[in-house]
């Protein structure tokens, strides 16, 4: 009997082992490698970090990353909740609308950047349209070192366009799991649709919103292609600096220091994410 139980306990771990080992080899160990490289410098073990922190580029990268997250995420969230509630009304053609909204999920960050460039470029569609209706006389420039705040604006619009679908899909999944009976009961008690939204739907949607928020925050530190292609280093972000120091400055130690900072930020937000998910496991008693 004990032998069978031992064997039974053994089987799932046997099935899990290849995956776990693979992730340790290709994720776990390389992160330790990143840390080793990051702490390797001629000026003591904190040398790279001291150098990074003293540069304006780093301060800007942190500020820009935070600023982009602070502007994009609330807009994405509000837009997603609106879209999810709309799609969930199940009007005629809602299924089609769902796929249309989800379609940018297929796009890479660099693809999104190039698509956005086709609109905001000096000879892009926005300028063409504005010129043809005589609103402007010369093309408006959105890109270039001189126009940082316009570049920022374009990046924000692109990010909202590209990443809202992800938040939308997560919110919609949450919305679909809400028990309809609560809403029907509220209707019976005379709640109008606005009250139902604020008193029933949104509170029940809170776990989904929280997960979506944390996932978005995690991805905010990974923001790379959109910024790099649209603004280069005019607008620095943490990932862009990692890339710059590795590819252009050929310095893997400083690049690793940046990567380690991203890793630490990911760990912190990821820890909150896991905690909210775990507390939900416990609430459900699963």
């Amino acid at each position: 009997m004990t032998q069978i139980r031992v064997k039974k306990q053994f089987i799932p771990w046997l099935l899990l082992a290849p995956s776990l080992i693979y992730l340790i080899v290709f994720m776990g160990l390389p992160i330790i490698g990143t840390a080793q490289l990051a702490f390797e410098s001629d000026e003591g073990w904190l040398g790279n970090f001291k150098m990074i922190i003293s540069t304006k580029d780093f301060q800007n990268a942190v500020l820009n990353t935070l600023l982009l997250a602070a502007i994009c995420i609330p807009i994405q969230l509000a837009l997603s909740i609106f879209l999810a509630i709309l799609v969930n009304k199940k009007f005629k053609g809602y299924q089609t609308l769902l796929y249309i909204i989800a379609s940018p999920l297929a796009l890479s960050d660099i693809t999104a950047a190039l698509i956005s460039y086709s609109i905001f470029a000096p000879n892009g569609y926005l300028n063409r349209i504005l010129l043809s209706i005589n609103w402007i006389e010369r093309p408006i420039y959105f890109f270039g070192y001189m126009f940082k705040s316009r570049e920022m604006l374009v990046i924000i619009i692109t990010e909202i366009w590209r990443a809202t679908p992800l938040v939308f899909v997560m919110i919609l999944a949450g919305l679909q799991s809400i028990n309809k009976e609560y809403l029907e009961a509220a209707e019976v008690f005379g709640f109008n649709s606005w009250q139902r939204l604020w008193k029933i739907t949104l509170p029940l949607l809170k776990p989904a919103i929280l997960s979506a928020l944390l996932i978005r925050t995690l991805f905010a530190f990974q923001l790379f292609g959109v910024v790099w292609l649209l603004a280069g280093r005019d607008i620095t972000v943490l990932t862009g600096e990692t890339y710059y120091w590795y590819v252009f400055m050929n310095n893997k130690n400083v690049a690793s220091a940046y990567a380690l900072i991203i890793a630490v930020l990911t760990f912190v937000v990821g820890w909150f994410y896991i905690r909210t998910i775990r507390s939900r496991y416990e609430e459900e008693g699963a």
Binding site: P12, T111, G225, G270
Partner: protein, 263 residues
């Protein structure tokens, strides 16, 4: 009140699809009309830029590398991930929640944090600048996702069927092979396609880990800034079309693929 839905539909569809359509049109606009502001849309269309991008500027080679990388990484992550997903779905064991959470956590780790240090490892293993090297990294990105998704697929395919099969003399493995696997196949195919898109779109690690044998996004990242505008849009078209087709094929699964992170 009824009119508001069609109106919103059109507005939202324009917002999400419009930019893709415009970039696509730009990619087939003749070069001579790019700086002609007199009209918005081109008077004729051409495949010249896409052709040039693919066949003279090395796009096709990069595309092949991209497909190679995606297929290898899907192969690895599914070979390793399916047993793990099955174990989480079918067995109760101590530490199961820990494993699930660890998978969710690794899924949120970007390859950015490992790419540079992988280069130093790859140099020793002669893996730098190979499709296999990039694929190994991409497999690490896709694997946690495969484990999470397959476990949810297997826990929704009916255990009763499998047990009935075992009553009729199948072994556990036989029951898995003949009952659960066929039932799970559509979901597995959907997640394989999603894995393909993840790898197809990954830019950072692919750029760091390859020099000559670049994947398509890495090739674009390295060359887009210096290319004339019409090549930029051709790049967007070449990147977007396969991914859009794939996401259309798996459209029914999108909610469950991302909804799972809520479970």
């Amino acid at each position: 009140m009824k009119i508001i839905y069609p109106l919103l539909f059109i507005l939202i569809a324009c917002f999400f699809l419009g930019p893709m359509f415009l970039a696509f049109v730009a990619s087939i606009t003749p070069a001579s009309e790019f700086y002609d502001y007199s009209h918005i849309f081109p008077s004729r269309l051409t495949l010249e830029h896409i052709n040039k991008l693919l066949f003279t500027l090395g796009g096709f080679r990069a595309l092949i590398v991209s497909i190679e990388v995606a297929l290898i990484s899907i192969g690895i992550s599914f070979a390793l991930g399916i047993p793990a997903g099955y174990a989480i779905a079918r067995y109760t064991f101590r530490g199961k929640d820990g494993v699930k959470l660890a998978m969710l956590f690794t899924r949120s780790l970007p390859l950015i944090v490992v790419a540079v240090s992988l280069v130093t490892v790859y140099m020793r293993l002669n893996l730098t600048d190979t499709a296999l090297g990039v694929a190994l990294a991409h497999a690490a990105m896709i694997l946690p996702f495969v484990v999470i998704f397959t476990s949810s697929i297997f826990s929704s395919t009916f255990i009763e069927y499998e047990e009935a099969g075992m009553v009729f003399g199948l072994t556990r493995f036989g029951a898995f092979l003949r009952i659960s696997l066929p039932l799970a196949l559509p979901g597995l195919a959907a997640s394989a396609i999603y894995g393909f898109i993840m790898s197809w779109n990954e830019t950072f690690a692919a750029s760091i880990l390859s020099i000559q044998n670049r994947t398509l996004p890495a090739h674009i990242l390295a060359t887009a800034m210096a290319s004339p505008d019409y090549f930029k849009y051709a790049m967007a078209t070449v990147m977007a079309i396969p991914a859009l087709i794939f996401i259309f094929i798996i459209r029914k699964y999108l909610i469950s693929i991302w909804g799972i992170s809520l479970k």
